[in-house]
Amino acid sequence: MSINWFKFSSPATFYPLAGKLIPIFGVLTALIGIFGLYWGFFQTPDVLTDQKQYYRIIFIHVPAAWMSMWLYVIVVAWSLIGLIFNARLAYMIAAAVAPTGAIMTVLALFTGAVWGKTSWGTWWDWDPRMTSELILLFIYVGYMALRSAIEDNRRSDRASAVLALVGLVCIPVIFWSVNCPDPNQCAALHQSSSMSGIESNILFAMLTMTVSFWMYCFLVPLMRARNIILEREHDTAWVTEMLEVKK
């Protein structure tokens, strides 16, 4: 059966669909999350001996960091769809995703700082990846600040879409310049990312946690999207009749 994408592109049809999806993602987030944590804390053999117990923070830190970057790409993608198809719903979803992306960045920064404290002894040592995460947070804050500064929804949607696009073009350059400030001898990542020699159980636990975070990043934006739809479509027929039914 061919999925008629445009059927779901109107807020009226998207709203009930989101309503049905939210409980599903809620249950998935919880189940996979618990399973991931159980696997991470109990199934990992004694590889994590005493002095390396702090390693378990990566079960939270890495998924949050991945999600923070992934959600920014999602925001830009929906903004692009909005700009090209002039679809109001696409802008609303971009608006719904951004705050969750910002929270993921905050989580990544916090857990990263705790990780830094345990492994290198200082809360913040301007490690290139952590600095990039901090800059990503500034970009999120800038995006949300612009969105809330403009009252007219139409203009705030399109202005923030352009800003998100400009941000996406600049992010690789920023991350690269933070990682390699001295172009002559570009020590790309002086902290070689410890992904290579990782023990399979830990990797499995971390990947499950990433899936759980991913489900979470579907859940909350969908809920926030419903709020935005209600707010913006309050004088449309389907909202009034829906509210009457509920009253």
Binding site: A149, V162, V169, V173
Partner: protein, 223 residues
Amino acid sequence: MFNIFRCIVMRDLTLAMRRKTDVLTTMFFFIIVVSLFPLGVGTEKETLRHIAPGVVWVAALLASMLALERLFASDYSDGTLEQMLLTPQPLTVLVLGKVLAHWLLTGLPLVLIAPLVGLQYHLSIESTGVMMLALLIGTPVLSLIGAIGAALTLGLRGGGILLSLLILPLYIPILIYGSGAVAASAIPGSELQAYFSLLAAFLLMALIFSPLATAAGLRISVE
């Protein structure tokens, strides 16, 4: 096409000349910020020489940031911006003209003032020269990227603070390599070519992409 570009640049320059004070404010802001640091950090020669690159570039960033608000604001308020959007000329050329005029009034003075800062911070002649060249290539990029923010936050109350919130993260690569060049120039025998080619690459990228984004931003804001 070129005489349109020239017309816009001359228009903005004559406008600025009519109000002499606006031209000098950015430069004096830069000087004040640069002169504040020694009072705060201490005037010991070695530390000053060490912090000079970072201070100069952060001050240049802030100075060009504050001057950005005037880029479109006066045209927006008296309706000439609308007329510009309705001319049969490509908007990107008009935007480039305005940004060039804006850079001549705010970016270039910073470059010319750099020797004074070099003296204040006991920089060697060679370092001051590198600083001037780095500023010469870097400040246009600041104006170009800043123009995008100015276009997006047109007519918003509290636009200045919002503008800096949007644009400062995007300035970071220029800050890193700009101050990196000046710092590297202090080390004898260090290779500066890489820094300047990077800054030039940023300038080229900004020249190509930022007028498009600024034009889109203007169309959205003037609606």
